[in-house]
Structure formats: structure tokens, C-alpha cells
């Protein structure tokens, strides 16, 4: 037999160029900034060459160690509190005929989707030194509990983030096959015993996944600890900001070291959870979803009450800011009486911030959608070494807190030849880098379900792979990707932690302005700005819920 040579030919097709473009952009906007950050963390103003000075001072000074301790305690306790609130909520909502279930569901989602620092701000409006409720209670001689400090931060995180646990657990609970619980009952378990010995262990991985989301989000959050910590309760994200912004010229090296520590913390928690879940994942195909228990009269009221209360508390911040945005203020705070002054003020003074917010987010979304589709296609259909590398890279921003990404981009792009600091581009880049993982994840989930033969059919009918991608695959992915994009849009318009590091004179956003107005004690305008964000969020959320019809996952 004649042995014909092995034929290998490099393939410079459409996907080759897409892969190259994606890898290059990732190297440039993610790997390069992050390596610069790591490098910078080993330099110090006081010494020449590489040094461990920054890390040495971190682990020797109480100031820094306290911050690490605070960060971990706050994140840990918040996760635990969210678990205690979210898991029972999910159980009640999935297993009983709660009154107004759909409305409550929307409220829970809105609590999660509200601007992250809005909670802190409105709790200050209620329970702060000059808060409505504080003053009300003071008038009758009662001293209200303080909202400032660690307790307040944990309360705000819990009410803002419990929906993560809720969504994960509710998802798991409704996919348990009812025969599993019936088997437990059959074997003689009491209902309560069954809950703790069968149901709970099975949904445990979901509970933990939700708790880890809470942990990472609270660890990365900047606005809440900044507003409620008042410089006394310091956390890592705030220190990163302080180290860079404060003092004379700021200390980018120390900020870099702090950033590296924040990323390592966040990464270890994620890996810990991945390790646990990988070992204990009860894949389940629910043939018969669990039945909803129908209660009547006072019993039904009793299960509805706690759910409604929690949902209301979660929604309270939004209600508070919207109401207070219509109240007259002077330099002492709110003085009562209906007014539209606050809106007039922000329209005349802060119109740029408003247009910036929508403009940056819209541009970012376009990039997120296009890149998200291309990357998820490569990850699912073009598996190989390049795809694996891409998978790792694209998911990395998941563990990078916003303020850390801010520092990354600053240290990378504040010197010649590439100066991007203070431009709209750097803001948009930070939004795209941070939100891309979510879109890629939902895009890949969709593609895994879609059989590859649909696109092969198109190719065999004479349509090139590139044209097939745009006319068939992209077309089919679009509904799912767009619902995901609405969620990304919501998080972009509310983004504070990296915007506050990256904004320049002309590129400030609504969230940055709210932060500054609150700091300046200009509560009326802050409330009006926050209301604009809240209303946009609610409207976008409504579009999402109508549009997605359960196709896109919120988590």
C-alpha cells in the first residue's frame, strides 16, 4: 500500500482571525493590565528594584490587617445572613401557595438589581444621623440604633444580596424530583427530618453557590462600606481606593499590592467552592417537580407574611430614594414639602453625568454582545488549546473587584505611548471586561443545547462558516444574549467601584455623582439621581422579564 503523506494545512479562515482578535484584546486589556498591577506591587517609592515592602507593611501594620479582618468578617457574616434569609424564602416560595407570588418574585429581583450603594444611601436617609426615622424616634425620646459601622454594612449587604441565595436555592428546589422526598417519607422520616436529611443536603451545593456569590460581591463592593464605614470601618476595596486617591499623588504601588491581596482572597473562595461542588454535585433530572402545598386561611397568611416582609425590606431603599427625591432640602437636609427642585438642579448641573452613564453603558453593551457571542461560540464549538486559554481568561474578571480593575487599567494605561486615563474609552473598557463573563456564560449555555448540525446544514447548503455564524447562529442566540445584555446594561448603569477610580472631568457618571453628592451632604440631588437610576433599572428589568420568559438566567 502506498502511504500518502499526512496533510496538514494552516487554516486562515474567519474563525482564525476572530480567535486572534479576541486573544489579542484579552492580552491587551486584561493580561497586560493585571501583570502591570502585579509588577507594580513589588515596587516601592522608597527603595530601588524589586521589593516585598508593600506586602511586608500589609502584614505588619494593624491598619491593613484590620481591614483584611473587616473584609472577611463582613463578607462571611453577610453570606451567612443571606443564606439564613434566602434559603427559607426559597423554600416557602417554591413549596407553598404564597399570596402574590409573581409580584414578590419581581420585588426580590429588583432588590438584587438595585444600584449596589443605593441600599447604604437610603438606609442613611432613614436611620442616619439626620435620618427620617432617627429624627422621628428622637422626637419621642428614643435613640435609634446606628446604621453606621459593620452592623449596618452587613444589614445592607444582606437585604441587597439575599436574592442570590434565593435564586440558586429556588432553582434547585424546583428541580428536585418529588419521588426523592417521597422516598424519604416512605422510609419513615418525619417531614422536618426529611427536610434536614434529604432536601437540604441535596440543595446544599446551590446554597453554597449562592453564598459564594454573596461573598464575592460583598468583598468587591465599594460604595456601601465607603458610605457606612465612614473611614472607621475600613475594608480592602476602600483601602485600594484610598491608597490610590488619597495622600499626595497616591501610592499606586501599595494600591497594587492591596489589589493583588483582594484578588487572591476572592479567587481562593471561588476555588474552594468549585472544589466542594465538583465533589458533591447531585445532577438531577426532575421527572416530577415537587407539588406546591395548598394552604388556606391563617396558615396561608403565616407563610406569606415573612416572605412579604423580607421582599418589602429589600425594596425599601428604592422606595425611600424615590419618595425623598421629591422632598425639599436645604444645607441641613430634608425639610419637607413636595418639590421638583432636585430634578431641575441635576438637569442643569449634572446632565453630562446622565448622558455619560447611558452612552458608556450602551457602547459597552454593543461590545459585550458581539464579543460575548463570538467567544461563547469559540468556547463551545472550537474546542482546543486556544479555547481553553480563552475560557480561563474570560472568566478571570469574575474574581476581580471593580476598584481593583480600576487600578489595573490606570497603572497600565496612564503612561506613554498609551494614555487612556480620563477618557470615555477606559470607562467602557472596564465595563466590557467586567460584564463579559456573564454574557459568555449564558451564550455558552445556549450553544451547548443547540445541536451543531443546524450550522452544518447551513454550511452544506453552500453558506460560508462566517455567513452561517451571522445569519443562523447569531440569529438564534440573539434572544438569549439580549436578555443577558439587559442584565449587563443594568449593572453597567449602576457601576460605581471602577468608575470612581477611572472617571475624569468629562466622563463622570450618575453613580459617581451620587457618591459625591452624598459626601457633600447634598441629599436632595443625590436622591433625584438615584431615582433616575432606579427607574431605569426597574424599566429595564420589566423589559427583561417580559422578553426573556425564563430563557435567560439571572445568576
Amino acid at each position: 500500500m502506498i502511504r500518502l503523506p499526512v496533510i496538514k494545512r494552516p487554516r486562515f479562515d474567519f474563525w482564525f482571525f476572530v480567535k486572534a482578535a479576541v486573544i489579542l484584546s484579552m492580552l491587551f486589556f486584561l493580561v497586560y493590565p493585571f501583570s502591570t498591577l502585579i509588577t507594580r506591587s513589588f515596587f516601592s517609592k522608597n527603595t530601588d528594584g524589586l521589593t516585598l515592602n508593600n506586602y511586608a507593611s500589609f502584614f505588619s501594620k494593624k491598619y491593613y490587617l484590620d481591614a483584611l479582618k473587616n473584609t472577611l468578617s463582613i463578607s462571611f457574616i453577610s453570606s451567612f445572613a443571606c443564606l439564613l434569609v434566602g434559603a427559607p424564602m426559597a423554600y416557602l416560595m417554591t413549596r407553598f401557595n404564597i399570596w402574590g407570588k409573581k409580584v414578590i418574585y419581581v420585588c426580590i429581583i429588583l432588590a438584587l438589581m438595585s444600584p449596589p450603594f443605593l441600599g447604604a444611601y437610603s438606609w442613611i436617609l432613614l436611620f442616619g444621623r439626620a435620618g427620617f426615622i432617627t429624627s422621628l424616634l428622637a422626637a419621642i425620646g428614643i435613640k435609634a440604633p446606628t446604621i453606621y459601622g459593620m452592623g449596618g454594612i452587613i444589614l445592607v449587604f444582606t437585604l441587597h444580596l439575599f436574592p442570590y441565595v434565593y435564586l440558586y436555592v429556588a432553582g434547585a428546589l424546583s428541580s428536585i424530583d418529588s419521588s426523592l422526598e417521597e422516598a424519604g417519607e416512605n422510609l419513615g422520616s418525619s417531614k422536618l427530618r426529611r427536610l434536614f436529611t434529604v432536601t437540604l443536603p441535596v440543595v446544599m451545593p446551590s446554597i453554597l453557590a449562592g453564598a459564594v456569590m454573596v461573598f464575592m460581591t460583598s468583598l468587591a463592593d465599594f460604595g456601601t462600606p465607603m458610605l457606612l464605614g465612614e473611614g472607621k470601618t475600613r475594608v480592602l476595596s476602600v483601602l485600594v481606593y484610598d491608597a490610590y486617591m488619597s495622600e499626595i499623588g497616591g501610592n499606586a504601588n501599595m494600591a497594587s499590592a492591596l489589589s493583588v491581596i483582594a484578588v487572591i482572597t476572592s479567587l481562593s473562595v471561588l476555588l474552594l467552592q468549585k472544589f466542594y461542588v465538583a465533589r458533591k454535585n447531585y445532577a438531577m433530572t426532575s421527572l416530577r417537580p415537587p407539588k406546591v402545598i395548598v394552604l388556606h386561611g391563617w396558615k396561608r397568611f403565616l407563610v406569606t407574611l415573612p416572605v412579604v416582609l423580607v421582599a418589602f425590606m429589600g425594596l425599601l431603599p428604592q422606595l425611600t430614594v424615590v419618595v425623598s427625591s421629591f422632598i425639599q432640602t436645604d444645607f441641613t437636609g430634608f425639610i419637607g414639602g413636595f418639590t421638583l427642585d432636585n430634578y431641575q438642579k441635576i438637569l442643569s448641573r449634572l446632565a453630562t453625568n446622565i448622558t455619560n452613564t447611558y452612552y458608556f453603558s450602551a457602547v459597552a453593551i454593543v461590545f459585550i454582545v458581539v464579543f460575548g457571542m463570538l467567544i461563547s461560540y469559540i468556547l463551545v464549538r472550537k474546542r482546543g488549546k486556544i479555547a481553553s486559554a480563552m475560557d480561563l481568561l474570560v472568566m478571570f474578571p469574575y474574581v476581580i473587584p471593580g476598584s481593583v480593575l480600576g487600578v489595573c487599567l490606570i497603572v497600565a494605561f496612564n503612561r506613554q505611548p498609551i494614555v487612556l486615563t480620563g477618557t470615555a474609552a477606559i470607562m467602557i473598557i472596564s465595563y466590557v471586561v467586567r460584564k463579559l463573563p456573564y454574557t459568555v456564560r449564558s451564550g455558552s449555555a445556549f450553544l451547548y443545547q443547540m445541536d451543531a448540525s443546524v450550522e452544518e446544514a447551513s454550511i452544506s447548503l453552500g453558506v460560508s462558516p462566517m455567513k452561517t455564524f451571522f445569519t443562523v447562529i447569531a440569529r438564534l442566540m440573539l434572544p438569549g444574549i439580549l436578555s443577558g445584555a439587559i442584565l449587563s446594561w443594568i449593572t453597567c448603569i449602576n457601576e460605581l467601584s471602577s468608575s470612581i477610580m477611572l472617571y475624569g472631568g468629562k466622563t463622570s457618571t450618575i453613580s459617581v455623582a451620587i457618591y459625591q453628592e452624598v459626601m457633600r451632604m447634598s441629599d436632595g440631588t443625590a436622591a433625584a439621581l438615584a431615582s433616575i437610576l432606579t427607574l431605569t433599572t426597574v424599566a429595564s428589568m420589566m423589559i427583561f422579564l417580559r422578553f426573556s420568559k425564563g430563557r435567560a438566567s439571572l445568576i
Binding site: M1, V454, E456, S460, L461, P465, V472
Partner: protein, 357 residues
Amino acid sequence: MQSHDVGIKDAVKMYGDFKAVAGITLDIKRGEFFTLLGPSGCGKTTLLRMIAGFNTIDRGTISFGENVINHVPAHKRGIGMVFQNYAIFPHLSVADNVAYGLKARKVPGSETGPRVKNALEMVQIAELAGRMPNELSGGQQQRVALARAFVIEPSVLLMDEPLSNLDAKLRVQMRTTIKKLQRKLGITTIYVTHDQEEALSISDRIAVMKDGLIMQVGEPTQIYKKPENPFVAGFIGVSNFLDCDIAGQDPNNAALTVAGYKIKDVRLSRPFTGKGKIAARPEYLSLDAEGIKGTIELSTFLGDFIEYEIMLESGQAIQLNEYTKDALSVKPDGMEVRVALDASAIIVYGEGGEVLT
């Protein structure tokens, strides 16, 4: 319709060190209905996808007519393909699905309409032209897929287990539709299936595959009646394998000894003496006064024939079918019988599995 013959020469597909297709050479004639048949993992789909252009060809060549197509990208090969799971575009109507390939070929609109209509008529779903795919049953979707594939007048039509997702009744119905259509259009067709009955009923020729290699190529009757090796004999239909001693110095008048029972007047293709093996179909065995001793383990009445599971004295179980019209009655379980072999219908293999008849 410009149909091509397909030439495959020493084609190899590697997955790491594993040879999915281990050097296959085939010549498929113009207008032929050719089937790749084999168990799962035999490489039949891999080979089909190499022809389609979805798998690279690591070694060897594939050509359409005179042209080697190894490096022609899939979308320029001018093939029509029908997939196992239909692969209908869910966002396009039935008519738009069928028109898709014509539009890609820039066929003028005035021509597209009639061609789509004609194609849908040929698969008997003209009335569904305006429907969306999610309103169609599996069988209807497969008809759309079929129309979509042949409306572009492909040089070769490829089908990857197109009937395996349909229920038994529809499968037989679609089988007939496909066969008639192919005869009418005369498109060179390569069909992949693991279902031997389907392959036998639909094909002009069949290649039986195993472990990335061709075990036998031939017309359905050839493959059924003269399996060239025990694998084909066992894979196509049911065969009983029995060890035998062959005394065949004279190939025209050889004698076999099976479990002490002597079969005379066997014709071999060449002289052979030694140990071997015979393959006998259940319907070529009969219950007789003479033959191999055995006991009926289980008799099953299946309407047109009776199936007996017989335990031979050697401890080997065999299957024997008796046509109801030839049988006086269904013989009871536990009955002692003798099994006779039809010397003209058994296949004899040498020790290494080489065919001797």
C-alpha cells in the same frame, strides 16, 4: 442534475492515536444508493463527515468525479446533507428552509418559488410551506430536511442516520419515500445507518464497516447470502456459528463434520483441510430425522414462522426458524430433535475467518 461518482482512496482519520477511519478505499458509482453500515463507533459517520467536509482528511484522498476535494471547504463541495436530528432552521418557515440553499446560490427569485414548491410536492408536504418548524412532527421535519437537501441539486446527497429518530412505522414509510425519490432524481447518495434491515431494503450497494475498516462491499443479497467473514455473517441478520472439521481436498465435493454429524457435497472455493467454522441462517436449518442432536429450549410462535431455541449436545444454543406453512404443529419445549443443515446454503470459514465457500 449533475451527479458525480465518489472516489475514496486510502482515507484515514486520526483522533490522537486512534484511527477512526483506518484506510478506506471505495468507489461509489454515479447515481448509486450506497450505504455505510456498521455498529456504533465503526467510523461510518466519521467517513461521511469527511466526505461532507466537516472532518479533515488526515491521509488519502476523496474525489468527486475527477476532482480531489480534500481541501475544498464544506460550503463549496456542492453536497446535500440530511442529518439525524433534522437540523431544520427553527427561525425559518418550511418554504424558507427549503429556499435557503437556493438563495445562497443566488438562484433568481422567479425560479426559487417553483423549485421550492416542486421539492415540497415531491416529499408530499406542499401544504405545510408556510408553517414554522415547531409546528411540525418529526416525520414532517425530516421531509423538510430532505427537500432542503435535494432542491439544490447536489452532486452528492449524504444522509446520516436520517430515520433513527422516527418511530418504527414512520421509519418504514420514510424509507420508501427516500428510495423512490433517489431512484427518480438519480443523485449519487451515501447513506449511513446501523440498522441492517434499513440498509438491506434501501441500498444498491452496502459497505459493512468495523473498527474503521471495510469488512465487505456488495449488493444487499450478496452481503446477506455470502458474508465474506464471520463479522458480516453475524452483523447482517442472524447466523449460527458452529465449529467443524473440513475435509476438502476436492473443493467441489468437500465434507464437513459438525458435532459428529456429517454434511456432504459442500462446494468450496479452494481445497482446504482442517478446522473451520460454518455460519448458517436460522431459516436454512431444519428439523429432520437426521442431524445434530439437540433439545428444544424454547419455541416461540411468531405468526409466519416459528422460532426455536435449541440446545445442542455440545452445550451450544442455536436458533432455527421453521415457516408456519411448512410446519405441522409447534413442537413443545423439551422435545428431543435433530437439526439438519442445508449444504448449499451454509457458509464455511477457515480457522482465520477467511471465507471458503
